[in-house]
């Protein structure tokens, strides 16, 4: 065994031994992503563990009390995506204002004759009020669409307007995922693992700054070791630790939250390894350009939070505005989140893991080059 390899191994073992020695930090670094991911996952979990989306609470005030509005109300009540409460208009308005209802529909007096007449081209169209919470603007078009669907279905029946045709299609909603059902914890575990492992990488970089302050770095440099060995062993140790944390977090996710790798296992492993490398090189880059420990930690934490936010770890990137979705293709964490999503709940094959992994390795190489370029070798 060559002396260089022995030294490299000693350096990597030292980093791992120090990480394992601090039991409290070890538990926190594994437990934190699990707890936060569990919380976020539960927010977006399907109700009753099925494939249905959460039922929206909607109020209906029927001022018309006609056969048509009663029929529409019956139809709305049977809709699996709505939780309908029949209320007086004022109460419905108050409940929307207080956030207890997502929206409220108010059928005006005289709705039935006006609506049937308008459908046949006679008279004015009636005005249906749709009261909604402006903080949840996505709700308005959803409820408006559902209302139109149910009104048209009822109006098109023979007892209202004779022999007109019903709406010429039915909507059959099918959740498109790889597995038997979507697991909201899959995305939250991907996002939170990435956030906390990136923070761990920063901690590894900060530890390097502390080593310089405390004289350990001088001692290491006194040994006949090249820069490649000194920095390479640091990256290797941090990468292995990051991979181990990812493995434990996903094991817990599998056992407790039923998060499965529905796609390529190899693709998942490649994305995980590439992201672990990215976390290690990010930390090394921070250590190479950082000044004091306090200032570096503050700037690095801000950087990580921005990377994580833009990477879609908190909110899936498909919810971003289109321009931001394009912009975040230049953010490495976006590829880490997408790569893990692709290979877990989306159930996609190897190539959907390969591309993100390759891009992450590219970013890691760039960060490593910056670290080597900027690293201050002599001034301790």
């Amino acid at each position: 065994m060559s002396a260089t390899f022995t030294a490299f191994r000693a350096l990597v073992r030292k980093d791992i031994a120090l990480f394992l020695r601090d039991r409290r930090a070890l538990v926190i670094s594994v437990l934190t992503p699990i707890l936060v991911a569990a919380f976020f996952g539960s927010l977006f979990a399907p109700v009753s563990g099925g494939n249905s989306i959460a039922r929206m609470k909607v109020g209906v005030a029927d001022l018309d009390q006609s056969a048509l509005t009663k029929a529409v109300l019956e139809s709305l009540t049977q809709d699996a995506s709505l939780d309908v409460q029949v209320l007086p208009e004022d109460q419905a308005k108050e409940l929307v204002r207080s956030g207890k209802l997502r929206a409220a529909i108010v059928f005006p007096n005289g709705f039935e004759p006006a609506a049937t007449g308008a459908l046949l081209g006679i008279g004015q169209m009636p005005d249906v009020k749709l009261l909604y919470d402006p903080s949840q603007s996505m709700i308005r078009p959803m409820v408006a669409g559902l209302l139109s669907q149910h009104v048209m279905q009822r109006l098109s029946r023979p007892n209202f307007i004779g022999n007109s045709k019903p709406i010429p299609f039915n909507v059959d909603s099918i959740a498109v995922t790889a597995g038997p059902r979507y697991n909201s914890y899959s995305h939250s575990f991907a996002g939170m693992s990435i956030q906390f492992i990136l923070l761990m990488g920063i901690d590894a970089g900060i530890a390097l700054l502390l080593m310089r302050q405390e004289g350990m770095w001088r001692r290491l440099r006194a040994a006949p070791l090249s820069r490649a060995v000194l920095l390479g062993s640091r990256v290797t140790g941090t990468t292995l630790i990051a991979m181990a944390i990812l493995a434990v977090v996903y094991l817990v996710a599998r056992l407790i939250f039923n998060v499965r790798i529905e796609g390529s296992v190899l693709g998942f492993a490649l994305v995980a390894a590439a992201f672990a490398l990215l976390a290690a090189t990010t930390g090394l880059m921070i250590a190479s350009i950082g000044g004091s420990v306090g200032a570096t930690r503050a700037v690095a934490t801000l950087l990580v939070l921005i990377l994580v936010m833009l990477g879609g770890a908190w909110v899936p990137s498909f919810l971003f505005p289109e321009w931001l979705q394009h912009l975040t293709e230049f953010v490495p964490t976006r590829w880490a989140v997408d790569g893990l999503d692709n290979t877990t709940w989306r159930g996609l094959p190897l190539e959907y893991g390969l591309k993100p992994a390759a891009i992450l390795v590219g970013w890691s190489a760039l960060f490593a080059l910056i670290a080597v370029w900027r690293f201050n070798w002599e001034d301790d």
Binding site: M1, S2, A3, T4, T6, A7, R9, A10, L11, R13, K14, A17, L18, R21, D22, E214, G215, M216, R218, R219, L220, R221, A222, A223, P224, L225, S226, R227, V229, W377, E378, D379, D380
Partner: protein
């Protein structure tokens, strides 16, 4: 194995840390690098250890020029840093395994070396304990042990006794003397003159990055401007007329008064001391305390720079 510092120079920006340092350290001898804080000792040690590239000049080890990075010549060097560079939470043995590994040691060879350095530094019974549970002196000794694992022929010690109690300091001195006795070349930096007087065969005095003197202790003391120093304490401070008279006495070289304490430098204490006491008594000053000592490195440094080591 000779270690030669050959006209070393190093600047950091506009600051000249080492202006011109040359000396030779020889096998079996302890060379003391003495100077006040900021004299350039640690920068010199950094260049001797291959941590810092000199702006000019070179370090030679048995004729080979020392480089930085992975230069195999560095295997001949053991560096004990001023800071205690240990993995505080890992057991002493794991610290030694780690530092041995850096020099390519593994398996039974590493185990044997660990046992040897633990024995040398009297830490065998604490091998399983982490340094965070050690006293300051024990941590210093472990710090030294880590630098000895690969059996370096040249040992560089950068102020290795900072913050150590007298008992542990003596233990460290004995270890260093034992290493020199085995034929190793030792370079020892400190700003404590008592340490170099006790330990070193040759002393290099540095200040402002330059070598001011390089000789044995005896030769340096012989070069001191005065041979002896007399210190007298009085109830009341002698007046200026008394001081002027003392300065004119035969054998008296220098007189200083700080508060009620007068120090008199003289080459011949036997001639000067009775006359000083007699003249001051005649002027009505009653001496409460009298001490005398031979010249030391402090006086040598004072003679060379006009300042004391502690002033700087």
């Amino acid at each position: 194995m000779n270690l030669i510092a050959d006209r070393l120079q190093k600047k950091f920006g506009a600051i000249t840390a080492v202006a011109d340092v040359s000396f030779t350290a020889e096998p079996g001898k302890i060379l003391g690098l003495l100077g006040p804080n900021g004299a350039g000792k640690s920068t010199t040690i950094s260049m001797l250890a291959g941590l810092t590239t000199p702006d000019s000049g070179r370090v030679r080890i048995d004729g080979a020029i020392l480089g930085t990075g992975a230069d195999p010549t560095k295997r001949k060097l053991g560096l004990v840093t001023q800071e205690i560079a240990l993995l505080e939470e890992l057991p002493a043995r794991m610290n030694l395994e780690f530092f041995g590994g850096l020099y390519g040691l593994s398996g039974p060879a590493l185990g044997a070396r660990i046992a040897a350095v633990l024995e040398l530094t009297s830490l065998s019974d604490r091998a399983r304990d982490p340094p965070s549970t050690f006293s300051g002196g024990m941590r210093r000794r472990l710090n030294i042990a880590c630098a000895l694992l690969h059996e370096p022929q040249i040992l560089l010690l950068d102020e290795p006794t900072v913050g150590v109690d007298p008992q542990s300091r003596n233990a460290i001195f004995e270890t260093i003397e034992a290493l020199a006795g085995q034929g190793r070349t030792v370079v020892y930096t400190t700003h404590y003159m008592e340490e170099v007087e006790r330990l070193c065969d040759r002393i290099v005095i540095v200040d402002h990055g330059r070598v001011l003197a390089d000789d044995t202790l005896e030769a340096l003391l012989a070069s001191a401007p005065v041979g002896n120093k007399l210190t007298l304490k009085y109830d009341g401070a002698p007046d200026s007329a008394a001081l002027a008279e003392i300065r004119t006495l035969p054998g008296v070289v220098q007189v200083n008064l700080v508060g009620t304490e007068m120090s008199v430098s003289a080459n011949d204490l036997g001639t000067a001391a009775p006359r000083v006491l007699e003249r001051l008594a005649a002027r009505g000053f009653s001496c409460q305390e009298l001490t005398s000592r031979r010249a030391n490195l402090e006086d040598v440094f004072l003679g060379l720079t006009g300042r004391t080591l502690r002033d700087t």
